[in-house]
């Protein structure tokens, strides 16, 4: 397997892009990434998307469509889908292709257009990440499935709702310095306490906002395509994906993210490092409970103790393990199928020193973790600068 590096990235702000189609959003991210990477040629396009096929006006075969739209007609292109982990899965496909030696220049683009349909349709589309025979017929929304986990978690470990506040406060703080973020306002502990309850115990400020967005990355063999001057060579040090049951009720331990435990352990092993070597963590904070479970599964906290890290200030930009350094899903926004690509773009920006006012002082090893469904597919990716 060859060492694979990141050559460039591009993205559009997460928001409500009423005037632009999924195709236009994806095209903008693809062009920005190609210009940033300084390459005309692309050998493989992997598209990450969750919802384009849902609903009465669904679109399949996005790979060919976006390749054609982007002036890449003729190249190999396909979509990778694993619900909200589609971005991470697409990145892993592109990485495998380049590492194998079959492909030199791979472009991964995540795109989601969520303002195209009305809220109940979007809610149904998101719920389709759950088990269609045994979860969906009983009427839980995707928020409800996460709330079932959070309710039991609070019951077993004794946390109060307000103990989860720092996850959201940190994310909003970082998003206030990110012009690409969906929500760029800071929030106070009081605002968190008073936020409207959407599915008890999950309130509006526990939940990430959906949005339209597209983000892209160019991957290439590290030794043949050095990044442009001023940028450190940046290696994909580890990338692993694991699965669990779709339905929460089928899990042996519903309060543990088994797929995160396995994929993070494999990614650490590939990179030859452990959790203590990770400088910052772009985690999948679709809901604040997922932040806690992700930290626990990835070796940063003992089971049931994720909120402790947040309460102790460890996750802030100046803490021991900064998270959501560009706002995370919570405030940068969660354009579901594109989210995993945004996460990795944000890791890359930190490692190249291009994170603007969110730049961390120490950023040599960054981790992204992308969760599909309520934990069914989890992709963990580690990137490192090479000195």
């Amino acid at each position: 397997m060859r060492n694979v590096g990141v050559l460039g990235y591009g993205m559009v702000p997460v928001g409500e892009h009423w005037g632009q189609s999924a195709l236009e959003l994806a095209g903008a991210a693809v062009q920005a990434a190609r210009i940033d990477a300084g390459v005309e040629r692309i050998d493989l396009l992997v598209v990450a998307n969750m919802l384009a096929a849902c609903g009465s006006h669904g679109q399949l075969n996005l790979g060919a469509q976006i390749a054609d739209w982007s002036g890449l007609r003729g190249i190999e292109a396909f979509k990778a889908e694993s619900a909200c982990a589609s971005g991470g899965s697409a990145f892993r496909c592109a990485w495998l292709a380049v590492a194998s030696g079959q492909v030199d220049l791979a472009l991964v683009v995540g795109v989601e257009k969520m303002t195209e349909t009305l809220v109940p349709e979007v809610t149904l589309g998101l719920a389709s990440a759950a088990d269609a025979d045994y979860e969906i017929p009983h009427g839980p929304s995707f928020v409800a499935l996460n709330a079932l986990i959070m309710q039991r978690y609070m019951h077993e470990y004794g946390w109060k709702h307000e103990d989860f506040a720092p996850f959201s406060i940190v994310a909003h703080e970082n998003a206030s310095r990110n012009p690409y973020a969906r929500l760029q306002d800071r929030i106070s502990p009081e605002a968190y306490r008073k936020a409207r309850m959407i599915c008890d115990p999950i309130n509006l400020l526990d939940a990430s906002p959906i949005g339209d967005g597209a983000a892209a990355l160019v991957l290439a063999p590290l030794d043949r395509y050095p990044p442009r001057s001023g940028r450190a060579p940046l290696r994909v040090a580890g990338c692993a994906s694991s699965t669990d049951s779709l339905a929460i009720h089928d899990r042996r331990q519903p309060l543990r993210l088994q797929a995160a435990e396995e994929s993070s352990a494999r990614a650490y092993a590939m990179a030859g490092i452990g959790p203590k070597d990770v400088d910052f963590f772009e985690l999948h904070d679709a809901f604040s409970i997922m932040s806690a479970l992700s930290l626990e599964a990835s070796g940063f906290a003992a089971p049931g103790q994720g909120p402790r890290l947040a309460l102790d200030g460890e996750l802030q930009a100046d803490g021991r393990l900064p998270i959501a350094t560009h706002g995370g899903l919570k405030a940068r926004g969660h354009p579901v199928g594109a989210t995993g690509v945004y996460q990795i773009v944000e890791v890359v920006r930190q490692l190249w020193g291009e994170a603007g006012r969110n730049q961390l002082r120490r950023a040599h090893t960054g981790m992204a973790q992308n969760i599909g469904g309520s934990g069914a597919t989890i992709v963990t990716t580690l990137l490192q600068t090479q000195n």
């Binding site: 109940p120 149904l124 009427g139 928020v143 409800a144 709330a147 599915c199 929460i248 519903p254």
Partner: protein, 132 residues
């Protein structure tokens, strides 16, 4: 309409028919033909008692498309007496507050309807245990 899906799942929806592993005797619901514990084939039908207790619960106020008429409703994870867990709505609650650990039993209720001319979909829900 998904007619065949609802027909195919009728034994599970109406009678909680799952499976028992002939090798390690673990009880399986929903049925999956391969034992989740020992990995061997498990196709022996097993009807669950319908008794269980609430593992977790929440109330849905913003339902997915097709579930609006029933909202708000309570969805629970119910740990069946025989071991497996199921996702199901709680019903017949009256003024009774729901608690984790509350004993419940299965009943058959309407899950959803698809308008005046559509199908009525029935299946299991759970109510507070009546008999001691």
């Amino acid at each position: 309409m998904e007619v065949s899906r609802h027909w195919r799942l009728r034994q599970q929806r109406y009678s909680l028919v799952g499976e028992e592993c002939p090798h390690c005797q673990v009880k399986i619901f929903p049925p999956r033909d391969v034992c989740p514990d020992c990995g061997q084939e498990a196709r022996t039908a097993y009807a669950f008692s319908g008794r269980g207790e609430v593992y977790s619960f929440i109330t849905v106020h913003t339902p997915p498309a097709g579930y609006e008429e029933a909202a708000p409703y309570t969805v629970a994870l119910v740990r069946l007496a025989e071991g497996p867990m199921v996702t199901a709505q709680l019903t017949d609650l009256g003024d009774q507050p729901v608690e984790i650990g509350m004993p419940v039993e299965m009943v058959t209720r309407r899950l959803r309807s698809d308008g005046e001319r559509g199908m009525l979909v029935y299946g299991y829900k759970f109510r507070p245990l009546l008999a001691a």
